[in-house]
């Protein structure tokens, strides 16, 4: 039985898809057979971030409608062993998803994989609700600004009331992933600090990913940022995955990085 992880946020544009790609790839790099499922039907992005957009033939909606088998729709990642992608449909909308269909697909995936990472669409409507309904674990992606924190709080409420676990009287495991963190701006008082966000959301902190040029570069190259092991964001995601798998890892990238003389003179490649 696989563990179903939903990557969600409520708000759009905070880095759900980037984080899904990074977490899925990271779990596979750590030797766990993982599938990334894109629930953002109609606004398909995960395949772009994963660099497999040209290999999409069938998608999640086809599988739900029994127009294709799961094996036909799953795309094997060429860079990372044990990583598969189930893309969303770009030509349909969220109404194409239904409860029974999603459950059947997840059950089937559950027998093939260790982890199922669901990339949730933004919002709290049907698409987002279906993505989180079956989750065992939620990774709530939040930016250090008030509207994102408010929306995360909202989605945590939805997780507590509208997930399968909640309906069975259990609790979905909740993790906070703070992305686009900029220590310099926190210091200047322009951005909420880790402590501020944690104080409001009151869930365990999985990781803090610094704002980084590497993320945009990786997205545009269709390369999950964890594969760039030199980058701060890539390292932060790998730390978060380590913590997710139960390891003790200190939080890095929370302080302003002082540029040493060496890097000031010679510069450093981001």
């Amino acid at each position: 039985m696989a563990e179903i992880i939903v990557v969600t946020s409520g708000k759009g544009g905070v880095g759900k898809t980037t984080s899904s790609a990074a977490i899925g790839t990271g779990l596979a790099l750590r030797g766990h057979k993982t599938v990334l499922v894109d629930f953002d039907v109609g606004l398909r992005n995960l395949d772009l971030i994963m660099g497999c957009e040209r290999r999409v033939v069938f998608d999640l909606v086809n599988v739900i409608n029994n127009e294709a088998t799961l094996n036909q729709a799953l795309i094997r990642d060429k860079r990372t062993e044990g990583l598969y992608i189930l893309p969303a449909s770009q030509t349909r909308d969220k109404d194409a998803l239904n409860h029974e269909g999603v459950e059947r697909v997840l059950n089937e995936l559950s027998e093939m994989f260790d982890y199922i990472v669901c990339d949730s669409p933004a919002g709290i409507e049907k698409g987002a609700q279906l993505a989180l309904y079956f989750a065992d674990t939620a990774i709530v992606v939040t930016n250090p600004e008030v509207s994102s924190v408010r929306d995360s709080d909202r989605i945590l409420g939805v997780l507590q009331s509208k997930s399968r676990k909640a309906e069975n009287g259990e609790q979905v495991k909740e993790h906070l992933l703070l992305t686009r963190y900029n220590p310099a701006r926190v210091q200047a008082g322009e951005m909420l600090s880790v402590e501020d966000v944690q104080e409001i959301l009151a869930i365990p902190l999985l990781g803090v990913v610094p704002e980084s040029e590497a993320v945009l570069k990786a997205s545009n190259q269709g390369q999950p940022v964890v594969l760039d092991s030199e980058s701060d964001a890539g390292q932060a995601y790998m730390d978060a995955i380590g913590r997710f798998l139960g390891e003790e890892r200190e939080h890095r990238f929370l302080e302003v990085q002082r540029k040493g003389l060496f890097s000031r003179v010679f510069g450093r490649k981001g």
Binding site: R150, D153, R154, L156, G157, S161, E199, A202
Partner: protein, 254 residues
């Protein structure tokens, strides 16, 4: 002259906003004899519940292709089973004049019917003008089980509503911005109170609100409220209790 002297006299009534929890009778299909038999079976099992229980009729889920049940017949079936239909929820198909002549109020559509129990607990907000006076007295039957105080150990998140009927609400965690906690009795919040808290919602002016850190969007007791702007005094982010002195809502440090 006469009318002017009347104005200066003490008022005879006042309108108050009140919330009561009502049950809905959601009809999935209509067959007079079957409905009658099923209602009677329910009534036999839960006689205390059916003692003139006020209900809203919800006909939104009746199959659209079938003819509507005759309203007077439906009312008779309900009343025979000791149900007291007081209104129709989301009425779009019956003539309003017909409803009025049968003494039924029309309520808004039940767009939130799929919400969780916490959220639906407060879903019914009858229009205070349309609401028959006997409702408030008889709904108590519905909630008469166990202790009336409710204790929440997890944060109340943005967008969630919690309402405790006829008792106190104790929140051991925080109440997030955009969340609403309501109780007929007192409200205690042992984390930061950032959302809205309404105590004494059914009119108990002796109810109080206690919190460890007052950062609320609004607090209200028995309908008298203070919004965030007025709360940002020296008591902001401090442990505070709020109570009514006459018609003034006071906050005092704990």
């Amino acid at each position: 002259m006469n009318s002017e002297t009347r104005i200066s006299e003490a008022p005879l009534f006042q309108f108050k906003n009140s919330r009561v929890s009502l049950n809905e009778l959601v009809l999935l299909d209509y067959d007079e004899s079957r409905l009658k038999a099923e209602l009677e079976r329910h009534a036999a099992r839960l006689p205390s519940l059916f003692r003139q229980m006020p209900v809203l009729l919800n006909l939104e889920r009746l199959p659209a292709d079938k003819p509507l049940p005759p309203l007077d017949e439906l009312l008779a079936v309900c009343r025979d089973s000791e149900l007291n239909p007081i209104g129709i929820r989301g009425n779009s198909r019956y003539d309003e004049a017909l409803c009025q002549s049968l003494g039924l109020s029309c309520f808004g559509a039940g767009a939130r019917t799929e919400r969780s129990r916490d959220e639906t607990a407060t879903e019914v907000k009858p229009d205070p003008v349309a609401e028959p006076p006997e409702v408030a007295a008889s709904t108590e039957v519905v909630e008469e089980r166990g202790s009336k105080t409710r204790i929440l150990t997890t944060p109340v998140r943005s967008g969630q509503q919690v309402y405790v009927q006829g008792g106190d609400l104790i929140v051991l965690s925080s109440v997030g911005a955009g969340a609403e906690v309501m109780a007929d009795g007192n409200i205690h919040v042992y984390g930061p109170l950032r959302g809205r808290a309404m105590a004494g919602v059914s009119g108990d002016s002796g109810a109080r609100i206690f919190c460890q850190s007052l950062e609320a969007e609004l607090i209200s007791i028995a309908g008298y409220f203070k919004a965030c702007e007025d709360l940002q005094s020296e008591h902001w982010k401090k442990p505070v209790q709020a109570f009514l002195s006459g018609t003034r809502l006071d906050t005092v440090l704990l």
